[in-house]
């Protein structure tokens, strides 16, 4: 397997506080890497650095030999890093279809002056976009809600929509920030299947932050555990479950309850 994203020694300080220290990973193509850890461990901060929302104080992020640090978030997206957010960030006043179409802006070839006149070429491009979006929605079973306002979707489909929207970017790496937060067991299973399908169908590389262990363990190839900004453990699910440092970080020591 090839390394498609090389993260070395990412550190970020906010004033005197070190939020993340020395985070490194060589993300392999097609793998599912999970980042877990107690609340406040710095997991989302890592994501924010990997998508250009924060600039690390030191460290490098390299994709195919290109250093991405200092680029704006939209450029990170253009380079193939798509994400979902811990708190759902859909375009709430837009329809499901439009939410997806907005992720196509980057690749769209529509020009401004033809758009003003709504030329035949523009209409054709709009039609083709619509067809492609419907196809994507159909794959993920959201096509029936295509014309609903995204804010009117139930919680589960909203989270699903965020993932589908990120997929529209045709990313190389999908970063999912707590995709099953607040879901019941049935919904969690659905998202787990969704993720498996994405991996099979698109050979997608995925980096995942989650707290639900019975969701993470079966899905992850590799897990990194963060606590207070530092990586305290790394390995495959079996190793992590047995790791005493991990157990202590979550439960304060004295229990072996993660099973």
């Amino acid at each position: 397997m090839a390394t498609i994203l090389s993260i070395k020694n990412l550190t970020i300080k906010f004033g005197g506080l070190v939020a993340v220290e020395d985070f490194s990973a060589d993300v392999q193509e097609g793998e599912l890497l999970a980042i877990i850890g107690p609340n406040g461990a710095g997991k989302t901060t890592v994501f924010n650095m990997l998508t250009g929302i924060y600039k690390p104080t030191s460290g490098t992020i390299e994709m195919e030999g290109k250093n991405l640090i200092g680029l704006r978030p939209n450029q990170f997206a253009a380079n193939g890093l798509a994400r979902t957010f811990q708190n759902i960030r859909l375009f709430h006043n837009a329809t499901v279809v439009d939410n997806i179409k907005m992720a196509y802006t980057l690749h769209s070839l529509e020009q401004f002056f033809p758009a003003l006149l709504r030329t035949k070429s523009i209409v054709e491009q709009e039609r083709e976009l619509d067809i492609e979006v419907m196809r994507l929605l159909k794959i993920f079973n959201l096509d029936q809600q295509a014309d609903l306002l995204s804010k009117n979707l139930p919680y589960g489909p909203q989270r699903k929509l965020e993932i589908v929207r990120a997929m529209m970017l045709k990313p190389k790496i999908l970063l999912l920030d707590e995709p099953v937060a607040g879901m019941n067991a049935v919904e969690i299973d659905e998202i787990a299947s969704l993720i498996r399908r994405i991996r099979e169908k698109f050979n997608m590389t995925i980096i995942l932050i989650e707290h639900h262990m019975n969701f993470v363990m079966p899905l992850a190839d590799r897990i990194k555990v963060l606590d207070f900004g530092r990586t305290i453990a790394e390995g495959n699910p079996a190793e992590i479950q047995r790791n005493p440092k991990v157990i202590e970080a979550y439960l304060g020591g004295g229990y072996n309850a993660i099973a």
């Binding site: 939209n74 957010f85 907005m102 529509e110 523009i122 619509d130 196809r135 929207r165 529209m168």
Partner: protein, 339 residues
Amino acid sequence: MKIPKHLSKSVLPIIGFAAIYGLIMLLKSFGIANNYHIQILMFAGVNIMMTLSLNVVNGFTGQFSIGHAGFMSLGAYGSAIITTLLLKPSVIPSSMQIPVFLLSLFIGGLVAALVGFLIGLPTLKLKGDYLAIVTLAFGEIVRAGLRLIEPIGAARGMIGVPTYANLAWIFTFVALTLFVVRNVIYSRYGRAWIAIRDNEIAAEAMGIDTTRYKIISFTFSAFIAGVAGGLYAHVVSFIQPDTFSFVKSSDLLVFLYAGGSGSLTGSIVGALLLTALPEALRFLASWRLVIYALVLIIVMLYRPKGLTGGYELPFLRIHRKELYEGAADPTVPEAEEGE
């Protein structure tokens, strides 16, 4: 003959507009409508264009521009310089008057757009209220600057702008503005703007270069405002810097939000109604503005989303279904088998 739906969106409204115009002309010939009414309508038309322009930036892109009168004045003076100082009626053949007029409007729009672009570059990085105050400052600096320039009349203003604009021209330009703004909203640009408005961080994360699209929005909006300003100059014949003050900018804000921001119909309704209202209330003398103020407060308290509440007239919206009419394969994508 069945008109294909997407053409019926363009043809029928044009017929509608022409019919309304014809009706007004008819009323005028019967003496029911007089020049005063026509002038109110012309002002309303200019205000509709200005409100649409503000809608692009404030309503659709979610930015906070409160100095838009500045663009209007740039367009007004820009076009007036062409028709009143350079290509005066006395130096051009009368057959050239209309082309010169149209050229002047284009130049007015261009001047405003250029300034909008230059202002937009550094300032659109500012957030919310800070952007607002800078746009306010911009509007006032333009006004103060115009007051200093002697060749265009300084604070006294410019007189003798030829009255090339008539109701027909205003109707035409309003229709044209509605047409292009509607079209651009239902394209990748409009969607990018709405994404920026709804969730700027997500928009960036989804690959939208928010600064670029904000600048496009601002520049496009400034162009429309400039053309509207040019039309205004050629209606009133006398322009002065103080007409385009923060008072005018706040009038435009009122038209936009009382009508309904993010809605093209709202801009029409807001501008039309609130231009006509103070005139209709003239019989109240000094109580006129008091009542107007109360109406405004009541509208905002009870219809906070604006009078139209987000409703859009049919010819001003485009549903994705319409993309499939007149196409080679007119079926809207149905559920595919398996997968």
